[in-house]
């Protein structure tokens, strides 16, 4: 079973952005936040969810795989580091490759930036700053057993399908207990190609459907 990691529970998010402020306070992020706060149902609901790097395991970090400059390093303990400033050429390949839409590019600095799981803190024995401060536990840091002890019956997923590709991640997502699917469909369905409605065809393939994993 997975070890100590971040669990994201969108059902608990209140959109306060404490994680965003906390991320900026981390010494390794040099005053910039590496967290996105997304609003999946704007105008209809106040729902929000924090997005941190999912630290992909299999296939090994698509962002790192496509990096032509070998600037994104994966540590032995599975942390996908942000770009090495001495190597990054700011080409944005990683941005395009990431299935979760996580890395950002600082165009002026020609530098990719993303969550490195507060390596300055986790390596030192502290929890990542975002999960430490999160007022609601929408970001939780610990083991699955610790999470389930605190939240009886909680279900998580660390495997997501994007079309025919399945990505297994180091960071896990809490999913509704009554809608457990394995793996969780990730990404929105393709409904139209060159003006042709392909939604019917897609719906028969499985996976790639609505993001049922996200409340």
């Amino acid at each position: 079973m997975m070890g100590r990691t971040i669990f994201i529970d969108p059902g608990r998010c209140i959109g306060c952005q404490a994680c965003v402020s906390a991320c900026r306070e981390c010494d390794s992020h040099r005053g910039k936040s590496m967290i996105h706060l997304d609003y999946p149902d704007e105008g209809h609901s106040v729902a929000s969810l924090p997005t941190v790097c999912m630290h992909c395991e299999d296939p090994v970090a698509p962002c790192a795989e496509v990096c032509p400059a070998d600037a994104i390093l994966v540590t032995a303990d599975g942390v996908v580091q942000q770009a090495d400033t001495t190597r990054c050429i700011g080409c944005a390949n990683c941005v395009n490759a990431c299935p979760f839409g996580v890395p950002k590019i600082d165009l002026q600095a020609k530098l990719q930036m993303k969550c490195n799981l507060c390596y300055d803190r986790t390596a030192y024995g502290l929890a990542p700053m975002c999960a430490t401060v999160c007022p609601t536990g929408a970001l939780f840091y610990g083991t699955l057993e610790e999470l389930q002890a605190e939240r009886p019956g909680v279900q998580v997923a660390d495997s997501f399908t994007f079309g025919s590709t399945t990505v297994t991640t180091g960071v896990a997502m809490v999913v509704p207990a009554d809608k457990v699917q394995w793996p969780v469909p990730g990404g929105l369905p393709v409904v139209e190609i060159n003006g042709v409605d392909v939604s019917e065809a897609n719906s028969n393939k499985g996976g790639g459907g609505r993001r049922e994993g996200v409340r």
Partner: protein
């Protein structure tokens, strides 16, 4: 109450150490291989000072990071009982105000308001202020000079504000901005229970089976409290939210009652009606521990769900559902905040909730009870020791001869000279307009943004012959003053605050104040000396004030006598009453059914619903309601200067339902009987079609409080911020957000410019718009 802080002895700076890690924390994914000392944060000689957040009434524990030069430069979460490491964005960014370039570092003075401020010496500023006090009191009497304090001050300072007004100024006119916070709840609690505080600690929320949150946007106003709500739900508790808007917490509730603003007591009377009709009352508890139940039962008989559903604009079935869910639960709790308190019937609203709790026997038990969530850091403690116009230390009544005698004995003053009760904060502004009050000192408040009906407030302050203000940033109100005293921020002094649970916590000093800056205590004592009362104000530091406060509160309901700085540092906080140094404090009230009335009973009060004070009409058909956003605190004098918070929420907006035909970002003019202003629209289905909402942290021309009504609750004198009649119409462009004022020679913090001209509304946690985000 036990200390869970695993780190050090609180109160002293400590080096950052691996033991800071939460118990059991190991490296990511339990993999080793990274030398632990490689990122050792102690490499720069950093120390951590345990303290609490300066902002809301939750009072989260935190460490301030202090560098080798003694300067605060960051924050680190702290595993305190209250917040267990959690912090909200305000708490995370609070440290940035300590060494902010906008800090006032020398007294500012001018003879007339049309002059520029000039920096002067402390002697000149103090002497001039005292000369003006003497002149005004000599010409017009002692009561012509008033004092307005603040509920963000430490309790020691609020004690001094009350004493300074009565003993040094000899004026009856003292009040504080907690008047704008939770005095309705205080009044209701006092009437019902004879004690002015929440009945249960936060931790009881985790034990409840049904949690009712009324008029409280917990997710934005008290984000760290949300962990208690979610914790209760993890145990299977049901959640009921009463709010005109679908807030982040309401979104997840089992029942969200989106009632029309200003109809809370009609709703709760109807809920109690159903409880009675279905035989869900706790008659044994009512018979043994209450008075007034028969009258309350008769009154609620007139509020069948059909009637209240029409008044409140909610489905009748929801009223029945809430009644069954609350009364049918084994243990139920109700927590409320400004949404029910900021009304001309604020006290009644709170009493109607208390009636529901008491009638169902949900009082004084683990997981069963009531609470009010304080907005300001020391909103609870700020009124306990004499800062409020009608109270003396220990919550004593200023009109009670015995109470007056007790305090005069402690203060060493003649009873005949002790003034009687003054008026409330808003009433003092009306008195300024009538020139009954001609001089004023304001400490830690910003009425130009925080009081309703801005035009009246501006007129009142402009009429003052002399106005001095204590602050550490030049607030909109301080910018109107004749003298501004630069004082310390919270991290430069020590003192106590009482949070929403009535838990007294200690704040510690993390750095020395900048040269030229003094503590509020020092300034008040210096003024008192010059006014001839120096012997009564010999307080070298906060501790000496606290020692007198302890004695002054002894034997009262608000008993602090058993609380000492040392005990607070050992325990992480003690809830009053605490009558002796061996007493553990009182986190939960009424466990034996006894209240603090002489007969030991709960005095249930009859509540009748009345419509809001500002009538709807064809011209003004909508309800305007106001509230907070998570990134800003009250008048925004502090948070509108912190780059990250400004970036998060750069400007106010008006939240409107899609049925009005506006698109996200459209300029919308909001008009009330007080005036009109233009805000960008935030179009969302998360608000009632007959209601619009504006967050209130900004000054004119983007001030919600230029539009709100200065109608007051007759008992608590709290303004009716949460409802007034309004209309909306299309406008050409939005009003520009003004930059915070700065002192001469100072510069605005550069990051506050972020997004200031952005015409689109911010991505607030509430009611996000339908258009793409910018």
């Amino acid at each position: 109450m036990t200390a869970t802080d695993p780190v050090t002895t609180p109160g002293r700076p400590v080096p950052l150490d691996p033991s800071l890690a939460p118990p059991g924390t190991r490296n990511f994914r339990d993999a080793g291989g990274i030398p632990a000392d490689r990122w050792h944060a102690d490499q720069n000689g950093e120390t951590l000072v345990p303290t609490h957040c300066c902002f809301c009434g939750v009072q989260c524990g935190m460490y301030l990071r202090v560098d080798r030069g003694g300067k605060v430069f960051g924050v680190e979460p702290r595993n305190h009982d209250i917040n267990r490491m959690r912090l909200c964005p305000k708490g995370i960014n609070a440290y940035q105000q300590v060494n902010h370039p906008d800090r006032l570092t020398a007294p500012l003075m001018r003879k007339n308001r049309d002059e520029e401020f000039r920096e002067v010496s402390w002697e000149e500023a103090l002497d001039h202020t005292v000369a003006e006090i003497r002149r005004i009191q000599g010409e017009y009497g002692n009561d012509a000079f008033g004092l307005l304090g603040g509920a963000s001050l430490f309790s020691e300072k609020t004690y001094l504000v009350g004493k300074f007004a009565r003993v040094a100024l000899k004026s009856r006119h003292v009040d504080y901005n907690g008047r704008l916070c939770m005095v309705s709840a205080a009044g209701a609690n006092k009437l019902a229970f004879g004690i002015d505080r929440a009945g249960n600690p936060f931790s009881d929320i985790l034990l409840t089976d049904c949690l009712l949150i009324a008029g409280s946007n917990v997710g934005e106003c008290f984000p760290v409290m949300t962990q208690y709500l979610w914790g209760a739900r993890d145990r299977g508790a049901t959640l009921i939210v009463i709010d005109p808007r679908e807030t982040a917490v309401a979104r997840t509730a089992d029942v969200h009652v989106a009632l029309k603003p200003g109809t809370d007591s009609a709703f709760f009377n109807a809920v109690l009606h159903v409880v009675v009709a279905e035989g869900l009352t706790d008659e044994a508890y009512l018979a043994a521990h209450t008075t007034g139940w028969d009258e309350v039962r008769k009154t609620v008989a007139d509020y069948p769900p059909s009637r209240s559903a029409t008044i409140c604009g909610v489905p009748e079935e929801q009223i029945v559902q809430v009644a069954r869910m609350f009364a049918g639960a084994g243990k139920a709790m109700a927590w409320h905040a400004r949404g029910v308190e900021h009304h001309s019937q604020g006290v009644e609203n709170c009493l109607s909730i208390i009636n529901l709790c008491v009638a169902t026997g949900n009082i004084g038990k683990p997981g069963a009870g009531y609470g009010t969530i304080t907005g300001q850091g020391n909103g609870q403690g700020g009124r306990e020791h004499g800062q409020k116009s009608d109270l003396l230390p220990g919550g004593r009544s200023i009109t009670n001869p015995e109470h007056r005698r007790q305090i005069c004995e402690i203060w060493g003053v003649d009873e005949a000279e002790l003034p009687l009760a003054g008026t409330s904060m808003m009433e003092m502004v009306w008195q300024m307009q009538r020139q009954e009050i001609r001089g004023l000192v304001g400490i830690c408040n910003n009425p130009f943004v925080s009081l309703p009906n801005y035009a009246t407030v501006k007129d009142g302050y402009d009429t003052l012959e002399f106005h001095a203000q204590f602050d550490f940033f030049l607030s909109e109100t301080a910018a109107n003053a004749h003298v501004v005293f630069p004082v310390t921020v919270w991290a430069e002094d020590e003192g106590v605050m009482a949070n929403a649970e009535a838990r007294v916590v200690k704040h510690n000093k993390a750095q020395e104040p900048p040269a030229g800056v003094r503590t509020d205590t020092w300034v008040m004592c210096e003024l008192a000396k010059r006014l001839g009362a120096g012997d009564k104000f010999d307080f070298p530091d906060s501790r000496s004030v606290f020692e007198e406060l302890r004695v002054a509160s002894a034997g009262t309901v608000n008993d602090y006598y058993g609380i000492t700085y040392e005990r607070l540092e050992e325990t992480g906080g003690i809830a009053w009453p605490c009558p002796s140094t061996e007493h553990p404090g009182t986190p939960r009230l009424f466990e034996d059914g006894r209240t603090y009335h002489a007969d030991g009973k709960t005095h249930m009060q009859v509540v009748e619903w009345h419509p809001p004070m500002d009538p709807y009409s064809e011209e003004y058909p909508l309800s305007l309601t106001t509230g907070r956003t998570v990134a800003h605190f009250l008048s925004g004098n502090q948070t509108r200067r912190l780059g990250a918070l400004v970036e998060q929420t750069p400007r106010p907006w008006v939240e409107v339902h899609p049925s009005h035909g506006f698109r996200n970002g459209d300029p919308v003019r909001v008009v009330t009987r007080r005036g009109s202003e233009v805000f960008p629209a935030l179009v969302t289905e998360a608000i009632r079609p007959d209601t619009v909402f504006i967050p209130y942290h900004w000054p004119v021309p983007t001030a919600a409080n230029a539009l709100t009504i200065d109608a007051l609750d007759p008992r608590s004198k709290i303004p009716e911020y949460k409802v007034c009649a309004a209309r909306i119409e299309a406008a050409e462009r939005v009003d520009e957000v003004p930059a915070p004022p700065t002192a001469p020679g100072h510069r605005a913090y550069p990051e506050t410019q972020v997004s200031r001209t952005d015409p689109l509304p911010p991505t607030s946690p509430q009611g996000r718009g339908t258009a793409e985000r910018s």
